[in-house]
């Protein structure tokens, strides 16, 4: 159990935001609500008011953590965003207590400013979520994270859709999403109409991998360094053999995100972090096994295409001797 301690600035900011953002009671999805709250928090912090919003980075941008939120405010986040339903409507203005006039004014100002940037209330449109994920990504702490989630994955999604022969207009939609955020994409999002990966597609993905390896945060995410290098080579094999690229990238992104939320968060309770550490260890062990199986399968495909010369054979024998020596040392 957590000790409940009220955070009136946070409660006021959330309630005033809901009141102002959705006065007509339209459907307001949780994703956009979460992304905008984090944006509001960061802006207020920049202006010197820390409302201590508990949030973390995860698979799809930022997420407000419900357990830490309840711990900070005494109010369940579900009260504001009921499961499988719209964010609630708050027709009347919240009645704050224990909050100074200047804090209240600052919160109001920033909320009005933030909402004014979306005059048509675009955040209420259900197909607009990506735009708000992008809003978070402007603050992404790691270059690698941006490149992987906002460039490599959209590129692979795009190629997958191409191969599934979707309509031209849909292709352009995907192209737009990717191009706006792509770090390394260059001209790769120009729509083409072939299915499968041609040599150029493969080269461009390999170039993205070459760039990603430079950006991988070795110190910050050292727990995943070894897994990442293994994934990188496995993914290169998958590119060559055109094997479920999007799935392999998303699977790695999944385990990366498990560590991301532990490393990059604010105002999360200690108990919650411990819980996430357990989750990460469990998931890493599962993922390592899965990656090993994928790698073995892809190496079998590779083996079918390999031809050995005497020089390679000699080096392999040397490596086997080294390995045997290591086995006997133990």
């Amino acid at each position: 159990m957590f000790a409940l301690s009220e955070n009136p600035q946070l409660i006021y900011a959330v309630e005033y935001f809901i009141h102002k953002a959705n006065p007509t009671g339209e459907y307001f999805n949780h994703t956009t609500f979460n992304k905008l709250l984090v944006e509001l928090y960061l802006r207020l912090k920049e202006r010197g008011l820390d409302i201590k919003l508990p949030y973390c980075w995860y698979k799809h941008g930022c997420l407000v953590d419900s357990i830490s939120f309840q711990s900070a405010t005494g109010i369940s986040l579900m009260h504001y965003e009921p499961p499988r339903d719209s964010v609630i409507v708050m027709p009347s203005l919240p009645n704050p207590h224990n909050i100074t006039f200047s804090e209240k004014t600052l919160i109001q100002e920033e909320i009005k400013k933030l909402l004014a940037e979306h005059p048509t209330r675009s955040y209420l449109k259900s197909d607009n979520r990506e735009e708000y994920v992008n809003l978070n990504y402007k603050h992404a702490p790691l270059k690698f994270q941006k490149a992987f989630r906002r460039s490599l994955i959209p590129h692979l999604e795009y190629l997958k859709h191409l191969s599934q022969n979707i309509s031209r207009s849909e292709r352009w939609d995907l192209t737009f999403v990717s191009e706006t955020e792509a770090l390394y994409a260059g001209d790769m999002m120009v729509p083409r109409f072939s299915s499968g990966l041609d040599i150029e597609d493969q080269k461009k993905i390999i170039q993205q991998l070459d760039d990603l390896i430079i950006d991988f945060p070795r110190k910050e995410m050292r727990e995943l360094y070894r897994t990442y290098l293994r994934w990188d080579d496995t993914f290169r094999l998958a590119v060559k053999h055109q094997d479920n690229l999007l799935k392999h990238a998303e699977d790695f992104w999944g385990i990366f995100a498990f560590l991301l939320r532990i490393k990059y968060n604010e105002n999360i309770t200690g108990e919650r972090i411990l819980e996430w550490q357990d989750d990460f260890e469990r998931e890493l062990s599962r993922y390592t096994k899965e990656l090993k199986e994928t790698r073995e399968r892809l190496l079998e495909l590779e083996a079918a295409e390999m031809s050995y010369d005497a020089n390679t054979d000699r080096k392999l024998k040397k490596l086997m001797t080294i390995s045997r020596g290591m086995a006997l040392e133990r």
Binding site: R230, D233, R236, E300, M306, L316, S323
Partner: protein, 201 residues
């Protein structure tokens, strides 16, 4: 020792082992085996070398890195593939892209070869693996009074059980201190005809 173990493996005699030994080498559903760990360590060295070259585009950085590992060696982190990297470097006249290409190919070929050999063992090519004896085997405590290592006790008991089915079983081991030196005390307890040190095979 490597040559001696090869002599054993390549000998035309019938060879037997147990699942205890198999799991120690190749692991089981929850734990990696010793051989898998070694293969992972060697592969990691290749991947780290590729990572360095990709970032620095200069073989000198890799040399410095390898040197630092040697100097701070706790044996586990030693750069075991340094000579191979140097060889590949001179074969490609220092061209980083070609070096990386060759290193990557060799890393994959090594893993392919390892997986192939592992599969052969798993398919019991050349070695018959027998089920492990139970942990509460009546010989456990008697053997434990002679052999300190619990894993060795289990392997001896496994051999004892195989010896009930296979006559004239010779137990070959590289463990001189724990087993070979104590063979006079151990042998009368087991269904094994002889205990032999690997170097005399």
């Amino acid at each position: 020792m490597a040559e001696a173990s090869q002599r054993v493996i390549n000998s035309p005699e019938e060879k037997h082992s147990s699942h205890t030994v198999y799991h120690e080498c190749f692991g089981n559903t929850v734990k990696n085996g010793r051989f898998d760990e070694i293969q992972d360590e060697i592969s990691d060295e290749f991947f780290r070398a590729l990572d360095y070259l990709q970032r620095e585009k200069d073989i000198e950085y890799l040399r410095l890195y390898a040197q630092s590992l040697k100097e701070n060696s706790d044996n586990k982190k030693n750069c075991r593939i340094c000579d191979i990297i140097e060889e590949i470097n001179s074969e490609n006249s220092g061209d980083i892209e070609l070096i990386m290409q060759d290193l990557r190919s060799l890393a994959r070929e090594y893993e392919i070869e390892y997986n192939k050999r592992k599969k052969d063992v798993m398919a019991h090519k050349g070695i018959d693996f027998h089920p492990s004896a139970s942990n509460d085997h009546p010989l456990c405590s008697t053997l434990a009074s002679h052999v300190a290592n619990q894993a060795d006790v289990h392997i001896l008991i496994d051999a004892h059980e195989v010896g009930k089915k296979i006559s004239s079983l010779v137990f070959i081991t590289g463990d001189y201190d724990d087993i070979v030196k104590k063979k006079d005390a151990i042998l009368p307890l087991l269904n094994i005809s002889r205990i032999q040190g690997i170097f005399s095979f």
